[in-house]
């Protein structure tokens, strides 16, 4: 009873935002670890992609949870943004937000919004053809098709550029979001230093790793 009532409060809503954000961070890490194999081994990449694409637990349990998590995170993000803007009431004529808080922390809705636009493109690029392949046209499964599909996508320099720019915004989103989520969860301030370092490493390594993968395939094929 009182556990549910947590989420009625402002702190509880922020907790949901933080938990869904951390969930997405975990997913992102997993996604990255699979994709990076495409740089050095076609076989491993095909093997892992085939597994992820055909394992019933991944397909029918983890994938719906992921989709729910993504939708929940950005819907909640927009909802809280609206409430927060209303809490201001009339806007300031002059507001020097940059004097006391970094840009990234004040523009999460913007960096998140760019990531959302990217996700729509990404769904259209990979998920829609995948669903079409498996469940609409019922094509026979070919465990070696994934690598070909991937490099085919990154033949286009425009797509590679769009992906790269989006990942820069993801980096900006995470540079604030990653450490912020720990504060929301209530982690003691004595851990802020390691959290800050971890935030920096993660937010640079993962998004720029994704950019590396996209650019690598664009240049190599």
């Amino acid at each position: 009873m009182s556990l549910i009532s947590i989420f009625k409060s402002s702190i509880g809503k922020k907790l949901l935002m933080a938990l869904s954000g951390i969930f997405l961070v975990v997913f992102l890490t997993q996604h990255f670890l699979i994709n990076i194999t495409s740089v050095f081994s076609e076989e491993i990449f095909n093997f892992l992609s085939h597994f992820m694409g055909n394992n019933p637990i991944v397909q029918f349990i983890l994938q719906p949870i992921l989709i729910f998590g993504v939708i929940f995170h950005f819907v909640m993000g927009f909802y809280l943004e609206i409430i927060n803007r209303k809490s201001r009431g009339a806007n300031y004529t002059r507001y020097a937000g940059g004097d006391n808080a970094p840009w990234i922390s004040r523009n999460m809705i913007f960096s998140g919004g760019v990531v959302l636009l990217f996700l729509i493109l990404h769904f259209y690029d990979f998920w829609v053809p995948e669903m079409n392949y498996k469940y609409i046209e019922f094509l026979p499964e070919d465990p070696n098709r994934y690598y070909e599909e991937l490099i085919h996508k990154f033949e286009s320099p425009i797509r590679t550029l769009i992906y790269s720019v989006s990942f820069i915004f993801l980096a900006l989103h995470l540079l604030h979001g990653f450490s912020s989520s720990f504060k929301t969860i209530g982690v003691d301030s004595k851990y802020y230093k390691p959290i800050k370092s971890l935030t920096f490493i993660f937010s640079i390594l993962i998004p720029f790793g994704f950019i590396f993968i996209a650019v690598f395939h664009n240049l190599m094929h």
Partner: protein, 246 residues
């Protein structure tokens, strides 16, 4: 110094309000910002114009009455001070200064630059106390040993003067810094532990009912807070809140 002032004027809470421009001369660098406002008001009185209402009381940075959003910053262009501690040497001859009231849905404007911060009082009433009888029969302070670190943290939190700069500057108009200071001030100490649970639940509930926004950890509040209340109190309050709920 000669200054161009653009000041928010509003007759009462219902009226719409808008900016008025004023030019003021002979301001010296050692005047405080509020003294500059006094000079302007004196001038307006001589001109038979309604003087500008603004909050102030102690004029030494301890009461938290003075507010004002000056050139886009709560308490003006400096860190860790109240408006009464802001001096005109922070400005240059010929500067334009925009002066607005603190803006938050939960701080409605009463007149001109005066806002109603009684939402803070209601939050305080909902739990910012201990029910130990302290009248006449106070014990020696050292009978209950308290860790130095906890005593320091409690004292730091207790220095909050309830000025509302944290709300005014927060992009979400969140009151989390204020409320977390008021919660931590007690919960660090054994005397505050007794009612710790209800305190955090009631104060957060009152904060939400008043319509303050949700904290997104931008950190703007602790930069503008005249008393240097640390944002670590917010994570601490979150923790207390979850514990109280579970």
């Amino acid at each position: 110094m000669k200054l161009n002032l653009k000041i928010w004027r509003q007759k009462n809470s219902e009226s719409k309000g808008g900016f008025e421009n004023y030019v003021i001369d002979n301001i010296t660098p050692d005047m405080s910002f509020l003294e500059m406002m006094d000079v302007l008001n004196q001038k307006l009185i001589y001109e038979n114009i309604d003087p500008i209402s603004f909050d102030h009381d102690c004029r030494e940075g301890i009461c938290g009455s003075c507010s004002l959003f000056i050139n886009g910053r709560a308490h003006g262009p400096d860190k860790g001070i109240t408006t009464c501690q802001l001096h005109m040497r922070k400005f240059k001859d010929g500067d334009s200064i925009v002066i607005e009231p603190f803006r938050a849905k939960s701080f409605p404007i009463i007149k001109d630059l005066v806002v109603d911060r009684s939402a803070f009082d209601r939050i305080q009433h909902s739990g910012g106390y201990i029910s130990i009888n302290t009248s006449g029969n106070t014990q020696d302070a050292n009978t209950t040993p308290i860790r130095k670190e906890d005593a320091d943290n409690a004292f730091d939190a207790a220095t909050c003067i309830g000025c509302g700069a944290c709300v005014a500057t927060c992009k979400n108009a969140s009151a989390m810094l204020y409320v977390s200071a008021k919660v931590s001030q007690f919960s660090y100490l054994p005397q505050g532990k007794v009612e710790a649970k209800e305190r955090v639940l009631n104060m957060v509930k009152q904060m939400d009912d008043e319509g303050f926004g949700n904290c997104t950890n931008t950190g703007a509040c602790e930069v503008e807070c005249p008393k240097g209340i640390s944002i670590k109190n917010i994570a601490r309050m979150n923790r207390e809140f979850y514990k109280a709920k579970i």
